[in-house]
């Protein structure tokens, strides 16, 4: 297993060593899974820097990240995944990273696929590459309520961005420098993934989906309950429709920030 990864690194990791890569892991009370996620990211992308955004966790999440030599950005209280991710994008912008990859702290995303996502970002004209569960069927089982929700969202969003988006809720994505600048300047505060797809398209950033395999979470509690998913749908659809009434967002230029 270890020998196999070492071999793969020699052949495939040229992209991963060439670009300055930041892996952003948003984590809210993920002590059960975070350690494993960080290990696997280290394994898959040894040259990447890892920053864990501790979104006001009350458990050992920040301590685990510190001991595993990840950088930790600890928010003093829970801001929600959107503002947490934006913190990571600001960090990526200020420290001059070329590429930022979002990997969720719950273990749903397979860090070994970071390579494919980043390679796709580097070789295609896309500014954002999204790892999708549904481009091809890889046996990810979605509960039917969620399936309906994702179908509605992907239908609406595909229509609006005039491009087939199969998995707009996926948080497994890579962003190039331009997209990092855009997200650092403004990012939806809560349930950001579907809305950000619309924002990207309206700003003229190119989106590409590639197939990935997602796992059930390693441990801990999912934040999704039936009432929250209902609220989620209503909030996300409202945000997206209101976004259409706004002026098109602009991509922020490089500014000179403190390192």
């Amino acid at each position: 297993m270890i020998r196999e990864t070492a071999h793969q690194q020699e052949t495939d990791s040229q992209v991963l060593t060439r670009v300055r890569l930041l892996v952003i892991i948003p984590a809210y009370n993920e002590e059960e899974s975070l350690g494993r996620v960080i290990h696997r990211v280290h394994e898959a992308a040894p040259n990447a820097d890892i920053v864990v955004i501790n979104d006001g966790s009350t458990d050992a999440t920040p301590a685990i990240a510190e001991t595993l030599e990840a950088k930790v950005l600890s928010l003093p209280y829970n801001l929600g995944i959107g503002s947490a991710m934006q913190t990571g994008f600001i960090f990526a912008r200020d420290r001059g990273y070329d590429v930022a990859v979002q990997v969720d702290g719950d273990g749903q995303h397979d860090p070994s696929e970071i390579k494919e996502i980043v390679e796709c970002l580097e070789t295609s004209p896309a500014d954002i590459v999204i790892g999708s569960r549904y481009v091809e069927d890889r046996g990810y089982e979605t509960p039917w309520q969620r399936k309906i929700g994702i179908l509605v969202l992907s239908g609406l969003i595909s229509l609006l961005v005039r491009q087939k988006i199969t998995d707009p809720t996926s948080g497994f994505r890579a962003l190039n420098r331009q997209a990092i600048l855009f997200c650092a300047a403004a990012y939806p505060f809560d349930y950001p993934e579907p809305e950000s797809v619309v924002l990207f398209a309206r700003a003229g950033l190119k989106i590409q989906e590639i197939p990935v395999t997602m796992n059930p979470r390693y441990g801990g509690q999912s934040s999704i309950t039936p009432i929250r998913s209902g609220y989620y749908m209503v909030k996300v659809i409202l945000s997206i429709l209101i976004e259409l009434l706004r002026a098109r967002p602009k991509i922020a230029g490089e500014t000179h920030h403190a390192p």
Partner: protein
């Protein structure tokens, strides 16, 4: 009772908003309430005082224009409308506050990491020079 029920009600409808008007002014004076957030409150209570004072002339004709048969109802309608405006203002203020607190929290997190990194470089550097000295 010396006064008829109607007169008592009239006095009450002037006195209560007038008192509240004074309370709001006093809160602004003591800086318990910001001037800009007090504007809608002051407007509401002042309007209620004026309408109650000129009940037979002003309020009756407003009720007439609005098609309200019982004039005091017009008072409630107007008061309720202004109340909704105040609540809306609250929501916008809350939105602004939550954006600001969220930005402040992000800055704290970013600065914290920078401080820890700087402390570490400082520590490493002083250890280095100590090693070189010995």
């Amino acid at each position: 009772m010396l006064l008829s029920p109607l007169t008592r009600l009239e006095i009450l409808m002037i006195a209560v908003p007038a008192l509240l008007l004074l309370v709001v002014l006093e809160m602004v004076r003591r800086r318990r309430l910001r001037e800009d957030y007090s504007l809608l409150w002051l407007a509401t209570f002042a309007l209620l005082v004026i309408l109650s004072t000129f009940r037979t002339t002003l309020l009756d004709s407003i009720a007439d224009v609005l098609g309200i048969f019982y004039p005091p109802t017009a008072l409630f309608v107007i008061g309720f409308g202004l109340m909704l405006l105040i609540l809306l203002q609250f929501s916008t203020v809350i939105t602004q506050l939550s954006r600001q607190t969220s930005q402040a929290a992000q800055h704290i997190a970013l600065l914290n990491l920078r401080i820890r990194e700087l402390e570490k470089t400082l520590q490493d550097r002083s250890e280095d020079s100590r090693n070189r000295a010995s």
